[in-house]
């Protein structure tokens, strides 16, 4: 039976490809974490780098990354979640809404270096915000906005219609229904969108390189510049400081892993409640 043999071969190839990918990921993560953990101490996270080599610690970079993520979410979450509510609950199918959806799609495909260029031209230079946390955060806001919008809209749509009907039947207005019933119900799913956006902002380099800047100092005010952890990895790796790079790459990976696990836990709980588990 030739086709049975054929079927077997295809199956073996597919299993081989899947295992190869899994092994690759395990190797990548294992190699970086395994190499980074050698000689790692927690002092590395809390010290400032020293000397002209700028090695030995990453505290200012961690501070810059967190500052940047915090500021970005502060601006992007209201816009993204609010926009998601609008698209799910209010928007019709008019021309304006269609245009906005198209714009969001295009925005989601804009290369990160172009966001960086734009941020440099508009925020850093035109508005005179210099290389600063604020310039970086405004740039990142535009970058994560499509993701936030999409996930929030989906989350709101996942809330069953019966919830709305029940609320309206009790005499609640539409605004009350949205903010007291639908928003709280959809919140866990919206939260995963926030986590994913934070993860993206955390790992992003090209868009912050020329907006948040390179200075290895701890930012205090929104108009202070700072070097993020990912930018730091870029500078270390391209100047041959491999040992230090491993440590920074490990920190980046661990944080991304935590973000991922956390958002998976939250979303699977939400799914179990409302959405038939997609296969």
């Amino acid at each position: 039976m030739r086709r049975r043999v054929y079927d077997r071969i295809v199956q073996i190839i597919l299993i081989a490809i899947a295992s190869m990918m899994a092994l690759f990921l395990i190797y990548l993560v294992g190699y970086i974490i395994g190499s980074g953990i050698r000689g790692f101490s927690f002092g590395f996270l809390t010290r400032a780098p020293s000397g002209i080599t700028q090695t030995g610690g990453v505290w200012p970079m961690i501070a810059s990354s967190m500052y940047l993520i915090g500021l970005t979410l502060l601006i992007a979450v209201p816009l993204g979640v609010g926009g998601g509510i609008y698209l799910a609950e209010y928007a019709g199918q008019g021309r304006i809404v269609e245009t906005i959806r198209f714009a969001v799609d295009i925005l989601s495909s804009v290369p990160s270096i172009v966001f960086g260029l734009f941020g440099l031209a508009l925020f850093v230079q035109f508005f005179g915000l210099k290389y600063s946390m604020l310039s970086g955060a405004l740039t990142l806001t535009l970058m994560v906005l499509p993701l936030l919008l999409k996930i929030s809209e989906e989350s709101f749509r996942a809330v069953p219609v019966t919830y709305r009907e029940a609320s309206l039947a009790l005499g609640a207005t539409k605004d009350q229904t949205i903010f007291r019933i639908i928003l709280p119900t959809a919140l866990p799913a919206v939260f995963t969108g926030v986590l994913l956006s934070a993860g993206r902002a955390f790992g992003e380099t090209a868009a912050v390189l020329y907006t948040a800047g390179l200075s290895p100092t701890t930012p205090v005010f929104p108009l202070d510049g700072g070097r993020t952890l990912s930018t730091h990895l870029y500078l270390l790796a391209t100047t041959g400081k491999i040992e230090e790079s491993f440590k920074v790459a490990m920190v980046l990976l661990v944080v991304i892993l935590v973000f991922n696990v956390l958002s998976n836990v939250v979303i699977s709980r939400f799914r179990r409640r409302f959405i038939k588990e997609a296969r």
């Binding site: 597919l14 899947a18 906005i100 925005l107 495909s109 390189l209 790459a249």
Partner: protein, 300 residues
Amino acid sequence: MGHYQKSSTRSLNNGTAYLKMRKMSLVELVLFLFTLTSLVGLVLIFLFVIKESLPIFLKVGPLPFLFGSIWQPTAGKFGLLPLLLSSLILVAGSIILAGPLGVALAIFMVEYAPSYVRIGLKTLVELLAGIPSVVYGFFGIIVIIPLVRNVVGGSGFGLIPGILVLTVMIIPTVTAVAADAIRVVPKENRLIIFALGGTRWQSVYRGVLPAATRGIFTGIILAEGRAIGETMAVLMVLGNAPLLPRTLNQPASALPSQIALDMAYASGDHRTALFGIGLLLLIFSALFISLARRVARSAA
């Protein structure tokens, strides 16, 4: 498509516009303005990139700028052909590798794997997508480049590691979109083949894939869009020499990485030329996403 309008418009024949005007509360207005920021942002991006890049198009001319074969900003030569060709090679090379691999992974996930394997693979794909591009670049420097150096020779930097790194980075896009497309193919498409005595692969090949073709292509187009704009990982492994690519095993420079590399010190014409590259990238990605939308829509 609010869940409210359906019921309220039903009672009025053509009063939708009137109804919307009257019902627009303050909350709705504010939320609408929030939604509008994406559109405004996108328009601003286009305006500023065009405004900053206009001088180079006027000075050099669009065709010499796009197809000039020498990129030497210090000598006043702004030809994008070396960068453009390298970028196209990177996109083509990575999609040739990532397309089949990504689709195979999607087929295996949806059609073959038991549920615990499927969940594991889904997590794997999400993780691959979430790893920052600088980490991929670093991985390229410490693992892929020595490998290329040993196998092919030369410095190791160049288009080969670029293609390999990009391949890993865009597989998640291909797989995620293709898996969605395969998942929504009706069960009957498979059952019919089984009922005729077909094997599993026949059910996939004859029953599922023809119905999922458009979705799979959408994923591939989106991945191409991602590949052409990818900056940091490519920047770190390419060797950054803006030469016309004659072989795969030579240092090269791509459109986005050249921006990241030069922006730190560029001024005058050089700076506007970099914005010109930005405009080119913007147009490429807009074209890719429009194409993907069109393909995806005609599937529905």
